[in-house]
């Protein structure tokens, strides 16, 4: 078990390092360099050279890479060549916003998907099951920004209950915070719930066909009792995996929602940096997102060993 943990952590570190090389190299693909890009095509060579010296861009690539990496490891993401401001505070602020939205959305999505998916499986051949399946099928096809727009139309423009955009930190008043959190979270969560409902349904269906469920019934449990006592934990294993992968997808999917609702999250910062040709900031934010994705995969793998004694032993 300890061996597995160490091996898995090692794998995480190696993959993250490889990803950082890829991100770094991608940013060097453009002809010219980051300083040139930042200053635009009509900057004087002197200005470019000046900027290069200031930020050490005239050094060899490996040195620049190591500099960037060691900076990140100590919490310093460098300085934007465009805004001339340190990047770390930008990332630190925006990551909180994004994580709040994404985690809240996943929680809401699971709260909707687990009961609905189980119902859809249990009532597989009846109207209720078919209706839930059809609804989730349609829900999956709706892009989250479309969901956001529809929610805005209904709750902001139509009913006037909630603001259509903006953000407030919890310390600015919990009511304000919740009011601005509600629609973005709902937009992400509804689409996510549709996706998860399908997975929960098929996981439960799968488990309902298991022999041990019949054994449980032979012991004196009804169908429903057998499913609740023996089935759900078994069904949870594939659902946890999917939820982990979806959480990673949502981190990125939140980019679009943040744009719709004008929320200062990682996505908004990323899009702004891309628009400003601010490659150092892009590089930093992308790296943070990549590490978060890898971290989620790691957590899912470790959760697996907790949930499933068969894996525990193999590990």
């Amino acid at each position: 078990m300890a061996g597995y943990l160490i091996r898995r952590l090692l794998q995480f570190a190696v993959t993250a390092a490889a990803a950082s090389v890829i991100v770094f190299l991608l940013m060097q693909v453009l002809p010219g360099n980051a300083a040139q890009v930042a200053l635009g095509t009509n900057a004087t060579p002197e200005a470019v050279a000046q900027l290069e010296r200031t930020y050490g861009l005239d050094r060899p690539l490996p040195v620049q890479y190591l500099d960037w990496i060691s900076g990140m490891l100590t919490g310093d993401f460098g300085t934007s060549y465009v805004t001339r401001a340190p990047i770390t505070p930008v990332i630190a602020d925006s990551i909180q916003v994004t994580l709040i939205i994404v985690i809240a959305s996943m929680a809401v999505a699971l709260l909707i998907a687990v009961p609905l998916g189980s119902l859809a499986a249990v009532f597989q051949k009846r109207t209720l099951g078919t209706a839930i399946s059809a609804a989730s099928q349609v829900g999956i096809a709706v892009p989250n920004f479309l969901a956001a727009i529809i929610l805005i139309m209904i709750f902001s423009l139509g009913l006037g209950w909630l603001p259509s955009s903006g953000w407030a930190a919890p310390i600015e008043g919990f009511g304000r915070f919740l009011a601005r959190l509600a629609l973005p979270v709902l937009a992400l969560a509804l689409v996510q719930a549709a996706i998860l409902t399908r997975y929960v349904r098929s996981a439960v269906l799968e488990v309902m066909r298991e022999d041990f469920l019949r054994t449980a019934r032979a012991k004196g449990l009804t169908k429903t009792q057998a499913l609740v006592r023996h089935g759900l934990r078994n069904a949870a294993i594939p659902v946890v995996t999917v939820a982990g992968i979806q959480l990673a997808t949502m981190l990125i999917g939140a980019v679009v929602i943040e744009q719709v609702f004008v929320i200062p999250g990682m996505g908004s910062e990323l899009v702004r940096a891309v628009a400003n040709r601010d490659l150092v900031t892009v590089q930093g934010i992308v790296m943070v997102l990549v590490v978060l994705v890898l971290l989620l995969n790691l957590i899912v793998d470790l959760l697996y060993t907790v949930l499933d004694p068969r894996v525990r032993r193999a590990a």
Partner: protein, 596 residues
């Protein structure tokens, strides 16, 4: 709603005589009838066998009693159980659930998947008592351990803490049995409980079941396809065929004086010691000539010799296994063969596990010999085959097939060798590519040899005919054939390039008894016609005895004994062979035991 709660009600007087009464039970889907109106009764403490081949409806009948039928099936008729009120079929799931595990329990066929993989074994046994509140929480945990001891699991304390995947198939089936017995049910239903187990384990589990039901006077409904097993366990037998009970009666009467043609056919086909005038096994079609009474006569001949290891060292050794007498060099020669597997490396800090699949295997097979390799699962017999056919490298030792030395042979030499040695695989459902037409499947060895298309077509037709398949099967796909027919296709593929050696890896273990006889007869015919050397691998002693002249017995990757079939079977030297022979259920022995 518990107005009709039955557990508390006094036993109904109706069921004085019979424990279970099934009247006109029929099971239907929306389109077809799977079980035609069927009636039978089981008295308290009575042991009743329900036999039939796959798809005969025997498992459905048991499921109907337990209220475990799949939703899309409907059961009509009536089922009453002593001590409970009313018709079981009229109960809701909730109402019948109260009886399951308390008044009646069931043990299923698949030991590998029947237990919850995420729950400790002890807790699963204790749960039966907690569901019906027959024990307090602590008592249930304690009794669970007692029960695990009762079914003779080693170290019940530790086993109770184990997860199912840490137990073997036989151990899991014992856990299932412990679970089924926990609340002292009046009725125990066993659905092929030992089919997936090795014979020696099967014997132990059967003894446990028999012991449990006789000591507590539990009624038993025992479902199986294996006549010898049923003869061992049950006093009454019902034969099911196409959803109907075609014959029922006392075990001895059914097995010595069958009235129905199907029963007679089944009996004849499963009796591997009986052959017709041509030396072939009986099939359902030829069963008329079978003399069923021979089994009752066999009773008076002494049972298999109970031999202990040392007693008869001299007698059996050195008859057929002494090929020095023959002048010709053996066709296949294996000497000091070792095979070690490296278990997939599980990381930085774990030991690199090695598993010895084969240890010091030595044997030789002469041209034209019919050679059997017998062993239970994990004995290494399949590994031996793969090495023999050059599909897997060996670790050390000497292996020669024809003039090809496997260990040092080049790929080209191995290919040439494989044209001489062909394999028939175990599972007719898995060994044929589902997306290929039969003609292409059979032609595969020829394609690899570079035989031109026209000639291929001719040879394929010829071979298909030889295995008894008509020409129109050429363009069909495997799923359009039954198990027996598929095994014929598999045999055709092996013979199409006219090999000298035919290796058969458990070719009949997945087949129903009646089909088994046909395929074995076909193999016998082909071996004679094509003058083949046959290497026949099986866990089934009876099949090997019928088909082979010589045999080796394998256990844990070693050959424990070798010799001609008669001496090995009648005078086993090694105690494992003896236990294998003793554990293998045969009708004659079972009937014998009953009489004794």
């Amino acid at each position: 709603m518990p107005a009709h709660a039955s557990a508390a009600a006094p036993p109904a007087p109706v069921s004085k005589r019979s424990l279970l009464e099934v009247t006109d039970l029929s099971i239907t889907t929306a389109q077809t009838t799977l079980v035609h109106p069927t009636s039978f009764t089981i008295a308290p403490g009575e042991r009743v066998g329900l036999i039939g081949e796959s798809g005969s409806g025997k498992s459905l009948t048991a499921s109907a009693v337990m209220g475990l039928l799949p939703e899309e099936l409907t059961a009509t008729g009536s089922i009453t159980l002593a001590g409970t009120e009313g018709d079981l079929l009229e109960r809701s799931d909730r109402q019948i659930a109260r009886l399951r595990g308390l008044n009646m329990s069931m043990v299923f066929q698949e030991p590998m998947s029947a237990l919850n993989p995420l729950m400790r074994v002890g807790a699963q046994v204790a749960e039966v008592m907690r569901i019906h509140r027959t024990q307090s929480k602590t008592d249930a945990a304690r009794r669970a351990i007692d029960l695990l001891g009762l079914v003779q699991l080693p170290d019940p304390q530790a086993t109770a803490r184990a997860y199912p995947h840490q137990l073997s198939g036989g151990q899991r089936q014992r856990v299932m049995l412990a679970m089924a017995l926990a609340n002292d049910p009046q009725l125990l239903i066993c659905d092929e409980p030992t089919t997936a187990l090795d014979v020696t384990v099967q014997r132990q589990v059967l003894d446990l079941v028999l012991n449990a039901v006789t000591t507590s006077d539990t009624g038993l409904l025992f479902i199986t396809h294996d006549l010898a097993v049923v003869a061992r366990v049950c006093e009454k037998v019902m034969v099911m065929y196409h959803g109907e009970i075609v014959e029922a009666g006392a075990t001895e009467q059914i097995f010595t004086d069958p009235q129905h043609d199907y029963t007679r056919g089944l009996l004849a086909a499963s009796d591997l010691t009986a052959t017709d005038d041509d030396g072939r096994l009986f099939t359902i079609a030829t069963a008329r000539a079978y003399d069923a009474a021979r089994l009752s006569r066999a009773r008076f001949t002494p049972p298999e010799a109970q031999v202990t290891g040392e007693q008869q060292v001299a007698t059996a050794s050195g008859t057929a296994n002494d090929p020095g007498a023959q002048e010709q060099a053996p066709l296949i020669e294996i000497e000091g063969l070792h095979k070690t597997y490296q278990r997939t490396k599980s990381g930085l800090f774990s030991r690199a596990d090695t598993v010895d699949a084969l240890t010091d295997v030595t044997l030789s097979i002469r041209a034209g010999q019919r050679f059997g390799i017998v062993g239970e699962s994990g004995s290494g017999k399949s590994t031996l085959l793969r090495i023999l056919s050059g599909l897997e490298p060996l670790t050390s030792g000497y292996v020669r097939v024809g003039d090809c030395e496997i260990a040092s042979a080049s790929q080209a030499q191995l290919r040439a060798m494989r044209e001489e040695l062909q394999i028939v695989f175990q599972d007719p459902f898995a060994s044929l590519d589902p997306r290929m037409q039969v003609a292409d499947i059979v032609a595969e060895p020829l394609v690899a040899m570079g035989v031109p298309a026209a000639q291929r077509r001719e040879k394929v037709s010829e071979t298909l005919e030889a295995v008894g398949l008509d020409a129109c099967s050429r363009a069909r796909y495997p799923h359009q054939f039954s198990g027996g027919q598929r095994q014929r296709i598999s045999i055709a593929r092996a013979l199409v390039c006219r090999p000298r050696i035919l290796v058969a890896d458990e070719p009949v273990s997945a087949l129903d008894v009646s089909v088994r006889a046909q395929v074995l007869n076909l193999l016998t015919d082909l071996v004679e016609d094509y003058e083949l050397t046959l290497v026949f691998v099986s866990h089934d002693l009876g099949v090997v005895r019928h088909l082979c002249s010589d045999v080796v017995v394998m256990k844990d990757g070693r050959i424990v004994e070798s010799g001609d079939v008669a001496s090995i079977y009648d005078h086993p030297q090694h105690e494992y062979t003896a236990s294998l022979v003793a554990a293998t259920p045969t009708l004659a022995a079972a009937l014998d035991e009953r009489a004794g």
